[in-house]
């Protein structure tokens, strides 16, 4: 492992990854990879997750293409130094902020969107001019193997390397020195990654998860709201998505209507026997299957199921399941569900849910369905979360102009679009001073006199007059 990292470091030192042309060639390589290998990617996703091909296209292929396309289009702009104003205190000077790559970066991705969550950070890292090591998740082995096979064919494999493996390989990777680590996954491993990074003072981006709440008001167009909730939950890898709605809150009085609407929509989309529907991903592996069925079989929870609950261990399938008013102490309300179970918590007043959300760790996303502007503003102002979506679910990550990332337990750092470039970039300040305007009075230097102190005070404060006097040496005691 050490030798591999050393090799990357040498390539970076040689300057191979810095020029615009190299970065463009790699981005074009990624674009070609996605276009030419679309079928293989779909197959891998099907093998790993039984992901409906529509989802694979919508969420993985097209978003990655869009990210790559945006980077190609904007790269020149992103690479440009930003000229900024300099101020009196450093008169006369020119100041700029120049983006430069960190160097050799490690991207550790996860299994639920194994293609896009690997390729998106790589797009950012490469656009920013870094050498990259990618470690895809071993829990999605077909996609991992896809990367190992095809990335070297389309990209410069002296600078972009794929390492496959599990805990052992990841631990070995984390022992190396990196200039940046980008991790997508859960909070427990996030802590391990950050601790390992601390040894080398390596900055990290942690894209974690959380319990993304959906607050549903009674004044909404229920039909549309429910469709959006359903597709945002079960249409996103069957709930195995970091921004999928985790639980719903609504008023006691509205809950029955909401539950009925959810049941109707679920049947419309997935039929009477959802275990047979081709439009639902399966659960990724037996481990997670058991985790989810354990949540359901908890004696305090199992009697709260109002819809669904069926499962098929052989095929690793769990039907969309609705639960009503489970205890807030149950595990299903403590841990991120990451599956097709949707608890609905009822409250007296909708505002009470804000308190509930506040009492839990900050989620990656929070959703509110309402037409009440005041409630909306209150929500935006008071709910701290990675991102907020009003009257829809999950879409915000498709907007490449919005930073995507968490806060608190849901992570640190953001990416997508320009933010991906910035996640792998050090913004270096460059200040250039002239010699012509050295103050005759030399106020900066000893011997320190009250005269000099006056000038310094004024110049630091931004006074042109003082500057002039200082320059000319005219101010007297």
């Amino acid at each position: 492992m050490e030798a591999v990292v050393k090799g990357l470091r040498e390539r970076f030192k040689e300057g191979k990854t810095r020029p615009y042309e190299w970065r463009v060639s790699q981005l074009e390589g990624i674009m070609r990879l996605i276009k030419e290998r679309e079928e293989e990617i779909m197959e891998a996703l099907w093998s790993d997750l039984s992901k409906p091909q529509m989802e694979s296209y919508l969420h993985e292929i097209s978003l990655s293409k869009a990210a790559c396309g945006l980077a190609l289009k904007q790269l020149k702009n992103w690479m440009k130094p930003e000229k900024v104003a300099s101020q009196i205190a450093t008169f006369s000077s020119t100041a700029q902020i120049i983006p430069e790559p960190f160097g050799v970066v490690l991207v550790i991705s996860t299994w639920n969107y194994p293609f896009s969550l690997s390729i998106d950070p790589v797009i950012g890292a490469v656009a920013a001019g870094n050498c990259v090591m990618l470690k895809p998740s071993e829990i999605a082995p077909a996609t991992s193997a896809f990367f190992a096979k095809y990335l070297p064919k389309y990209l410069d494999d002296s600078c972009i390397i794929v390492v496959q493996g599990g805990v052992k390989e990841t631990t070995a990777l984390l022992e190396q020195k990196w200039d940046k680590i980008f991790y997508t996954g859960n909070g427990k491993i996030g802590r391990i990654v950050m601790s390992a990074a601390a040894k080398n003072l390596t900055p990290v981006s942690l894209e974690l998860g959380g319990k993304s709440p959906v607050v549903v008001d009674s004044d909404v167009n229920l039909k549309i709201a429910v469709k959006r909730i359903v597709v945002g939950k079960w249409g996103c890898n069957n709930g195995q998505a970091c921004v999928a709605p985790d639980y719903i809150t609504t008023t006691k009085s509205f809950a029955p209507k909401l539950v009925d609407a959810l049941k109707d929509t679920l049947e419309t989309f997935y039929g009477k026997d959802p275990l047979e529907s081709a439009d639902l991903s399966r659960i990724v592996n037996l481990n997670h299957f058991k985790r989810l069925t354990d949540l359901l079989d908890d004696q305090n929870v199992s009697d709260k199921i109002v819809f669904g609950g069926k499962r098929d261990e052989k095929r690793l399938k769990i039907a969309p399941t609705l639960l009503l008013d489970v205890s807030l102490d149950s595990l299903i309300m403590k841990d991120e569900i990451f599956g097709p179970l949707l608890p609905i918590i009822t409250v007296e007043k909708l505002e009470d849910s804000f308190e509930l959300i506040d009492s839990m760790p900050k989620p990656l996303a929070a959703y509110l369905f309402t037409n009440n502007k005041k409630l909306e503003d209150h929500f935006v102002k008071n709910i701290s979360t990675g991102g907020i979506l009003i009257n829809d679910v999950a879409l915000h990550l498709a907007n490449l102009n919005l930073p995507f990332g968490g806060v608190g337990e849901s992570g640190m750092g953001a990416y997508h679009g320009k933010f991906s470039f910035e996640a792998f970039t050090h913004k270096k300040s460059v200040l250039s001073r002239g010699f012509a305007t050295e103050m005759r009075i030399r106020a900066r230097y000893p011997p320190y006199t009250p005269n000099k102190q006056w000038i310094l005070r004024k110049v630091i404060d931004g006074s042109y007059v003082a500057l002039l006097l200082g320059l000319l040496g005219l101010h007297r005691d």
Partner: protein
């Protein structure tokens, strides 16, 4: 080793702190934040204004404690700390409304119609560790950002500058909201206890060694950190043709080495790189400037304490280092004074050339051609700043492209600290996270994207059941091809072939 009086006092104070219930102090600040007190524009602006009043009204006291802790002359204290803070607070008060305004963002077709914005929100309760060399500046500068961003704050000033720490402890509550902004005094023990608590952000200024400890502790709570560390900041000194520019440059080198806290500054010039044929000229000029400016001992700060004095003094222990002294070298342990010292080509593997000096010793390393400095710098850890005094545009370009550092400054030193428009921070071993100006505001904020949709338009193609036509429409949408989308929608165009499998 016998416990000194200072250490005894420290221990007492630490226990006192603990007894006073560190946790309750911190949880009060958190409660204040949870209540929402710090989020409003008025509160932030009023706190900043109050800070300004503190800086203006307590100026003499600040000069006093800085002189007591570090032997800083009042002009140096104003130039490097108080004055800069006044400027920063003014800048923050002016920029606050703009910084707090949500940023509108363009929205693509797929989410049409909707509006999107990026809303800044405070991270919550932040912990600021400051350092001893600019104990007021490095405490209050981060605080300005934290306040502007609407956070509650706990500040732990360095115990190595005790008079300043006491000053901050006594005066901050007099001017600022004492329910939201707390000052906790103490040493390593107190720091450790603080690090065990949960914070929403930790801002640390100090050494890489302690930086690692801070970040490791922060990892347990997934707390984001900013580490403002140090390093060996090199200054390349190119050969100048005439004497006018050379003289100005040498003055600025003086200002960059011995001016700020006798060289105990993270952005201070650590060592110089110069062509061997020019070295003597440079040394003579430096000697001249030292003579001209450094006419009284009070014009240079002293070494902070006996421990650091020993550390710096030890650099001389190696014979090959002490024999490379070309100017200065005298020390006074009682006064904690070390004379401005210039060394010529101490061995590159000596401690003075491998450790951050953080003192008034200036090694000069000669190279055959000035361009060799680039390789020299690249072979070493990334510093907080790289300085270069030169007219050579090619050299400047090469430095910009080929080296990496927190900042790169041409033809001056230290002054970048006062500039609000460029981020101030490190990279690699010198840290990460930048601040000053609006960067301070962002440093203590979470940028929260907010997307708003209406119920008016709905695209059924988002939903199952899936079919070929929906896929085609989506292909268009994702390419933001409005025209193609409409054509497809109307059934006038098809694109791509793709099988639906139901395996």
């Amino acid at each position: 080793m016998a416990i000194t009086n200072q250490e005894e006092r420290e221990e007492e104070r630490d226990e006192e702190m603990v007894a006073l219930g560190l946790e309750s102090v911190v949880s009060e600040a958190r409660d204040t934040f949870e209540k929402g007190k710090t989020k409003g524009f008025e509160w932030r602006r009023d706190q900043l204004r109050a800070l300004l009043r503190l800086l203006e009204e307590k100026e003499d006291e600040m000069f006093q404690v800085l002189n007591q802790d570090l032997g800083k002359h009042r002009v140096e204290a104003f130039r490097d700390e108080v004055g800069v803070l006044i400027k920063s607070v003014d800048h923050a008060v002016q920029g606050l409304k703009k910084w707090m305004t949500p940023e509108s963002v363009v929205v693509p077709l797929v989410a049409f119609p909707s509006s999107a914005a990026i809303v800044s929100e405070p991270l919550g309760l932040v912990l600021v560790f400051s350092s001893w060399n600019f104990p007021i500046g490095l405490s209050l500068e981060p605080m300005i950002g934290a306040i502007a961003a609407g956070n509650a704050i706990v500040l732990k000033p360095s115990d190595l500058a005790p008079a300043t720490s006491q000053f901050l402890h006594d005066n901050i509550p007099k001017y600022l909201d004492k329910e939201a902004i707390k000052v906790v005094q103490g040493g390593a023990q107190v720091a450790e206890k603080l690090l065990n608590l949960k914070w929403d952000k930790i801002f640390f200024t100090g050494s890489p060694k302690v930086g690692r400890i801070v970040m490791t502790a922060a990892a347990q709570h997934l707390t984001p950190v900013t580490l403002e560390l140090g390093g060996k900041c090199p200054a390349i000194f190119d050969s100048f043709k005439g004497s006018r520019d050379k003289n100005v440059a040498v003055q600025r080198v003086f200002g960059g080495k011995w001016g700020p806290c006798a060289g105990q500054a993270c952005i201070g010039i650590d060592y110089l790189l110069v062509e061997e044929t020019y070295a003597q000229t440079l040394i003579e000029s430096l000697k001249g400037v030292l003579k001209k400016f450094y006419t009284k001992p009070e014009y240079m700060a002293r070494i902070i304490n006996a421990q650091h004095f020993e550390r710096i003094n030890n650099f001389f222990q190696e014979k090959s280092v002490s024999s490379s002294i070309v100017h200065g070298g005298s020390v006074d342990p009682d006064k904690l004074f070390i004379e401005p010292t210039i060394l010529l080509n101490p061995p590159l593997d000596s401690e003075i050339m491998t450790e951050e000096i953080f003192g008034p010793l200036l090694p000069i390393i000669t190279v055959k051609k000035i361009e060799e400095s680039i390789e020299f710098i690249k072979a070493r850890p990334k510093p907080l700043v790289i300085y270069a005094f030169t007219h050579n545009e090619t050299l400047k370009q090469r430095l910009t492209k080929e080296t990496s550092s927190g900042s790169l400054i041409f033809n001056d030193a230290i002054v970048q600290y006062a500039l609000d428009t460029i981020p101030f921070g490190g990279v690699g071993q010198s840290g990460f996270g930048g601040y000053h100006g609006k960067f301070s505001y962002y440093n203590f904020s979470h940028k929260k994207p907010v997307l708003r949709r209406s119920f008016l338009t709905e695209f059924s193609i988002r939903y199952p059941e899936w079919n070929e036509k929906k896929l085609q429409l989506l292909r268009h949408m994702y390419r933001f091809e409005y025209f193609g989308f409409v054509m497809c929608f109307l059934g006038l165009k098809t694109i791509g072939k793709w099988k639906i499998t139901t395996g």
